[in-house]
Symmetry: C2
Subunit: 314 residues, 2 copies
């Protein structure tokens, strides 16, 4: 422990993604007492920069955060991160994530990096890093079995059975929206910054088309250009149409993979939450909705508790 006195009452929770870093100080019940965030994603850091960066954020959270145990998730545990926390293969019990975590220790910090999950199937190998921690927080909701949707750059669709991740798949929905809006022929007609409202009829019509015919995506995408050229669709309406097609297609394809009536939970933050919830509604599905930020904090806090139990047993 290198002379550190770790105060078991508080937890520093760290969600360290590819392009962003969020650090919270949590109280003894897991409630956030303070937050420090920046764009210092794991992609831009190397070697000792991780520790210096984390120490700086912990200092910002004040003296109560000093010497507190730290639990981290996300790309900080990737091969090019602070220290690699190898993926756990599925099926995976979420409450075993801390047992597969890696420790890092430095001058002022003692921290755990949670592993991601890997799907080792030859047909469609897949990985996640970060969402498993949201799922660990979510698994405190007792007894859920069904499909969990975690929208984002790479939207994760996860089959969970009572705390066990049985299968998952990643869809490039968010990234393809950005690529098309910024780099494709559609960039001339789409406003990539447009705010899309979940009750926008253009969004809803496109989402319904995507849900009904997810196989037609490569064809329907080009219709965004056609609608702008031929029907004078505005740049913000074109963004709504593009988003609707993609989210509708994503959701339609995912729902085809599960039996009708499968319970669905949606873990999302920001605009995605309302957009996906509305598209599920078009498909006749009513998901339970959870906030992604709350879930990642809950997962990191739960991991800290499980860590305590492991230390006590050790």
């Amino acid at each position: 422990m290198i002379g550190l006195v770790v105060d078991g009452a508080f937890t520093v929770a760290v969600d360290w993604g590819t392009s962003s870093l969020r650090v919270w100080l949590l109280d003894s019940a897991g409630a956030p007492l303070g937050e420090s965030r920046s764009a210092e994603g794991a992609d831009g850091l190397a070697g000792g920069a991780f520790e210096a960066c984390l120490t700086r954020h912990i200092e910002r959270l004040g003296s109560a955060a000093r010497g507190v145990r730290v639990v981290m998730c996300g790309m900080v545990g990737a091969r090019n991160g602070w220290r690699e926390a190898p993926y756990m293969p599925i099926p995976a019990r979420l409450d075993e994530l801390p047992r597969h975590a890696m420790r890092v220790a430095g001058a002022g910090v003692e921290a755990l990096i949670l592993p991601g999950l890997v799907r080792n199937h030859a047909d469609a190998p897949d990985v996640m890093r970060g969402e498993e921690t949201q799922l660990l927080g979510f698994s405190a909701v007792p007894g859920f079995s069904g499909l969990v949707c975690l929208p984002g750059t790479h939207c994760k669709w996860v089959r969970v059975r009572e705390g066990v991740v049985e299968d998952f798949s990643s869809a490039m929905t968010g990234e393809i929206f950005r690529l098309l809006a910024q780099h494709s022929v559609l960039r001339h007609v789409v406003d990539p910054q447009a705010r899309i409202a979940a009750d926008d009829p253009v969004f809803l019509r496109a989402a319904a088309a995507g849900l009904a015919r997810p196989e037609a995506l490569l064809h329907t995408l080009f219709s965004v250009r056609g609608a702008a050229l031929v029907a004078g669709l505005s740049a913000s309406a074109a963004a709504a149409r593009l988003s609707g097609l993609l989210i509708g297609t994503d959701t339609g394809a995912a729902l085809r993979e599960v039996p009708p009536g499968t319970p669905v939970s949606l873990i999302a933050s920001g605009p995605f939450a309302a957009l996906y919830e509305r598209v599920f509604g078009l498909a006749g599905v009513r998901p339970r909705v959870f906030d992604a930020d709350e879930m990642v904090r809950a997962g990191l806090f739960r991991a800290a508790r499980l860590w305590d139990e492991m230390e006590l047993r050790a």
Copy 2:
């Protein structure tokens, strides 16, 4: 005619796309006597630059090309081209394209710009510019009725009935390959320059997966990354997998739109021809294959003949 003596024996045929220009001198039977090409696409030119550029290419083709009638197709007729040749709405008789062409005349040139086609349907408006001229060349194949596939950056799928374009749809297949290989998270694992062989088992397996489940594209795309991270897929194999998924999905979706047994023709040049032909084979379809360069020359030549007839009637 501004003092020009147009020699009816020869034709200058011009395929002027977004990013490339190809100019041929054709003999009185439509066979190419010479070719001049460059990267001076219509996207980078404005105003008088078109005429200067075309004149330069015609000079390169030698004295026989001087004062010869010119027929052009492609983005040269777009709103930002040399002169806009408004789209013909479908259903459209291909041999009526020259009647809807626009004339441009300059110091040393008298030319016709063929129009594109537009699908004015509210659900999926669509446009083409250039492919309609390949179809005009192709329609010399008598009596074809069925589905025509024209692969490319935006792959066109066209329903033709005896010289009439009844419907069409554009798929962003080629552009999405480029976007994903160069700008997405897959750029770390895909070699965008890889030469993909049509008999590569990685390509074929991915194409079969795309054909079988075109609705799953957003999900299967991410598996290219998974296969690289988890199974050590090489960068060139990852390119083959990505290409197979996209071409398989594109073809699978298009074939679902037509009755089984519909005759299929493939108009393609370069590597696309073999890749699409092989994917059709996996789907149990045997297309007739035509060379895209030959078809565009044949279409431009046929348009020149039809122009002659119009002049004679006038």
